[in-house]
């Protein structure tokens, strides 16, 4: 968006950041700092991935194409990735929304995951307690996020538990 000075992928990869930005064609894309709710939801989803026997991680730097690096909030692979940054296409990526996320930026990112070949692209909205699946350029609301061949299913009740009274 902004006419910032472009940096090279090498420069991006060599820099230590306090809170790792993403990198898209020469520009750094800031990510919102996660809140407690954001990170608690991420851990819950990772727990389910663990149970399903998947290799998983949060904020893992992935190389989608030579000029595009993204850090999905949560991602899982059928086999443990061996490259750094990760070039193996995940089975599933999950974006957990923050109030400040812009729609246009979110769609850009989801389309990139799709072009990269990620079969399951999920969007979790903690503000409205909604689950959505991105497929075929549509963002469709779902009661549960599931990958049947891995016996994996996450319902809204599991992802957004009622606060403990």
């Amino acid at each position: 968006m902004s006419a910032a000075t472009l940096i090279s992928p090498e420069e991006y990869l060599a820099t230590k950041y306090e809170w790792e930005p993403e990198y898209v064609h020469g520009e750094l894309v800031e990510r919102p700092m996660p809140t407690y709710v954001h990170s608690a939801i991420g851990y819950r989803i990772e727990g389910k991935f663990e149970t399903a026997g998947l290799a998983h991680g949060h904020d893992v730097r992935c190389k989608l194409e030579p000029g595009v690096f993204r850090l999905p909030d949560v991602a899982a692979w059928t086999k443990r990735p061996t490259t750094t940054p990760v070039e193996e296409v995940p089975l599933v990526v999950v974006e957990i929304l923050s109030p400040d996320d812009r729609y246009a930026d979110l769609l850009d990112k989801l389309r990139e995951y799709q072009n990269w070949g990620v079969p399951h692209i999920w969007v979790v909205d903690p503000m409205h307690k909604l689950l959505q699946v991105f497929r075929g350029r549509s963002l469709t609301e779902a009661d549960a996020l599931s990958i049947p061949e891995h016996n994996l299913s996450l319902t809204a009740a599991e992802i957004f538990p009622e606060p403990q009274g």
Binding site: R102, L107, D125, H128, S138, L139, T140
Partner: protein, 166 residues
């Protein structure tokens, strides 16, 4: 979101703003300043609807009372009959939002959910930057190649709204 001082509906309606915000239960919701893409798309889409379905009425940024405490200004609204009151409470046939780069996803979906509860039959999102259409229905944003109101023989395709060469 912010814990701003709450404002009454009356106060909101009596104030003149440089760029009219929306009003949601005591809070003002700023609308992003439209960029040229937004402006051209808004006029062009309204124009296409007027030509193709001349019996329908098209309004831009008309203030509506969506709920007693929620006032919104759809970028474009399409009506079967022209609203006679200053602050319409009846839902239009269609409500269309043109996406601005700064639009927050969370606020957009809140607005669309309100339109749906209100009874708006066609809720559309037009993104001039990626040249895409989405249809909002039951919490989902479904990609579409065209915007359609079959009962009024109205169809607008992506190519109609965004011709390659202009």
């Amino acid at each position: 979101m912010a814990t701003a001082t709450l404002l009454s509906v009356e106060e909101y309606l009596a104030t003149h703003y440089e760029r009219e915000p929306e009003y949601v239960r005591g809070e003002l919701r700023e609308r992003p300043m439209p960029n040229p893409d937004h402006g051209f798309t808004q006029v062009e889409l309204g124009h296409l609807v007027r030509i193709r379905a001349p019996h329908l009425y098209v309004g831009s940024e008309i203030r509506h009372r969506v709920e007693p405490e929620v006032l919104r200004l759809p970028d474009i609204a399409i009506y079967v009959t022209r609203p006679k009151v200053r602050l319409p409470t009846e839902p239009p046939l269609a409500a269309i939002e043109i996406l601005s780069p700064d639009e927050k996803f969370s606020e957009l979906r809140e607005k669309f959910a309100e339109y749906e509860r209100w009874g708006v039959r066609y809720i559309w999102l037009v993104d001039p930057e990626s040249r895409t259409f989405s249809i909002y229905r039951g919490g989902s944003l479904l990609a579409a190649d065209q915007l359609e109101v079959p009962e009024h023989n109205l169809t607008i395709t992506i190519a109609d709204l965004f011709p390659e060469e202009r």
